[in-house]
């Protein structure tokens, strides 16, 4: 009996074990956000405290770096989402010359190692005389660049599974092209755009390798963590990690719930 049950559920159990494994470090991040370390040089759990949560900015320079990351993240998300959405519409809805080189142009940034993209951008900035101006704007340019492809792919897959008979129906009912777009097309594609924006923000917020090469003296949150890792990490960074995780989980789960409700209403 038991042997048979185990045989039938072996794959499922192994799968759940693998999934659990991916959560071990996350659990450590959450745990360490409540840590009161005995010394800055030893990274282990010593005593429970809420201090990191009540005063996250106590870690010197962290909140400034965090603010910079959020600012860059929002702007890069806005830029990449708008441009990438337009491109996704072009790829799905329009015919044009050079389709396969365009596909390659959009794919390659996702397949290139960050160190190569970062170093070639730096080479460009240095060669064109911007070596002294590395900072906010060069980081922003880089972030829009590497987020773009992910936006195109995400929105494109939403558009490709799109039933265009709905649009034809709207047109048959005398909706103008603009009305059709804003009342039918856009609401249907919106979840894809929102997903792309969320993905862009987390890619931008989390990027270290490309940013570090093109940042000059500007410090973002990952750069702050990297710098701190050399001399001992303040526990407050784990508070930021935990908050990021919770916020994104809430957004993703509520999106899922909303789409289930909509489906339920339609059927």
């Amino acid at each position: 009996m038991i042997g048979r049950w185990i045989r039938e559920h072996l794959v499922l159990m192994l799968g759940l074990v693998v999934l659990a494994y991916t959560f071990i470090p996350i659990a450590v991040v959450v745990l360490m956000s409540f840590n009161d370390p005995a010394s800055r040089n030893v990274y282990r759990f010593d005593a429970f405290t809420l201090d990191n949560w009540t005063d996250p900015c106590a870690a010197e320079g962290m909140c400034a770096a965090l603010g910079k990351s959020i600012e860059i993240g929002l702007l890069a998300t806005l830029g990449a989402t708008v441009l990438g959405t337009l491109a996704a519409f072009a790829l799905v809805r329009y015919d044009f010359l050079g389709r396969s080189s365009t596909n390659l142009l959009i794919f390659l940034p996702m397949a290139s190692p960050e160190i190569v993209m970062g170093s070639s951008l730096l080479a460009l900035f240095v060669a064109s005389g911007f070596a002294g101006q590395l900072g906010f704007w060069t980081i922003l340019i880089a972030h829009v660049m590497f987020c773009l492809s992910f936006v195109v792919v995400t929105v494109r897959s939403r558009l490709a599974g799109f039933d265009d008979s709905l649009e034809q129906a709207a047109m048959d009912l005398y909706a103008t092209p603009a009305q059709t777009f804003w009342r039918v097309t856009f609401p249907l594609v919106f979840p894809g755009i929102l997903g792309a924006a969320l993905l862009s923000f987390s890619l931008s917020f989390d990027d270290f390798i490309i940013t570090n090469l093109n940042a000059g003296t500007t410090t973002t949150f990952p750069m702050y963590v990297w710098g701190a890792a050399q001399r001992g990490v303040p526990m407050q960074v784990n508070v930021v990690g935990t908050v990021m995780l919770v916020i994104s989980m809430v957004i993703v789960v509520s999106g899922e719930v909303a789409s289930r409700r909509r489906t339920a209403k339609l059927t």
């Binding site: 693998v18 991040v29 329009y94 015919d95 290139s112 160190i115 960074v237």
Partner: protein
């Protein structure tokens, strides 16, 4: 859906194409140019273009070890990701029923906590007086003064962990498309589950295996964060060398030459893949 023709398509595509050409393609030209500068130049004196192809010979001689190490660690991590990722993707596609979406969210959830923080967590988990080392020592799998940090094991483990979602998502997309009746048919024809897997499921999931392998191997072999935080200088990978040549040593020509070698290798791999699968499969 029929595709419309006309100028609107080009206009919609233009900003993205321009941005990528200006800030992704053109930089490779700058990188190539930089890699051929006179190696005697510096930030202060400026660089001179001397078509110094010798830079490439120099960096290969100086850094062949971190280069091979990057291939080796990246390759090992990819194999481990394939094994773990296959089990997970198969479970999500076939074994969890209506929990599929939730499971997929859980797979990418770790993505939303900083990459650096996750890697630092591994440093804590694998620490010398941590639970993993203590357990392995108790089981005599690790000697009394054996350790995991600052060994290749820790670096490969970190890489495997950090790039697992890149493997799971394409694998899932492929496995999820497999018609379950084909697997049932193989068992009706007296194939045992193992034979059925290797004759039916595995071949049908190959597109996912190939793109997952590519998407895992490329970032893993270029990464230096894991090698730096979990390893020692003996585990330095080529990405770390490029980074420190750029930011610490300011040896731009050498750094650019190493970067070019890495990129050419990657592009070659992508092209082989594109020839087999076509560009529409990429996205």
């Amino acid at each position: 859906m029929t595709r419309r023709t006309g100028a609107v398509g080009y206009l919609l595509l233009l900003p993205t194409a321009l941005w990528l050409i200006l800030f992704f393609v053109v930089p490779f030209y700058s990188l190539l140019a930089t890699s051929l500068y006179d190696p005697a130049g510096s930030d202060f004196r400026g660089y001179e273009m001397t078509y110094a192809w010798g830079n490439y010979v120099d960096v290969v001689q100086a850094y062949w070890q971190p280069m091979l190490r990057a291939l080796w660690y990246g390759g090992l991590a990819t194999v481990f990701c394939l094994v773990l990722g296959y089990v997970l993707a198969y479970t999500i596609a076939f074994k969890v029923g209506r929990w599929k979406n939730l499971m997929l969210v859980l797979v990418i959830a770790p993505f939303f906590t900083s990459f650096l923080l996750r890697t630092l967590s591994w440093k804590l988990i694998l620490a010398d007086d941590g639970i993993v080392v203590d357990t392995l020592q108790f089981l005599h799998l690790l000697g009394e003064d054996g350790r995991l940090l600052a060994t290749p094991i820790a670096v490969v483990a970190g890489l495997t962990y950090n790039f697992l979602p890149f493997m799971v998502l394409p694998l899932f997309a492929s496995i999820d498309k497999i018609d379950h009746r084909l697997i049932e048919a193989s068992s009706d024809l007296y194939a045992n589950p193992v034979v059925g897997f290797f004759k039916v499921t595995w071949p049908l999931s190959l597109p996912g295996v190939v793109s997952g392998t590519l998407l895992t191997f490329i970032p893993a072999s270029g990464d230096f964060i894991n090698a730096q935080l979990l390893g020692s200088p003996n585990q330095r990978m080529v990405g770390g060398v490029i980074q420190s040549l750029f930011t610490d040593a300011n040896d731009y020509p050498a750094a650019a030459a190493l970067s070019m070698i890495l990129m050419v290798g990657i592009v070659a791999m992508v092209l082989v893949y594109v020839r087999r699968a076509g560009t529409e499969e990429l996205l």
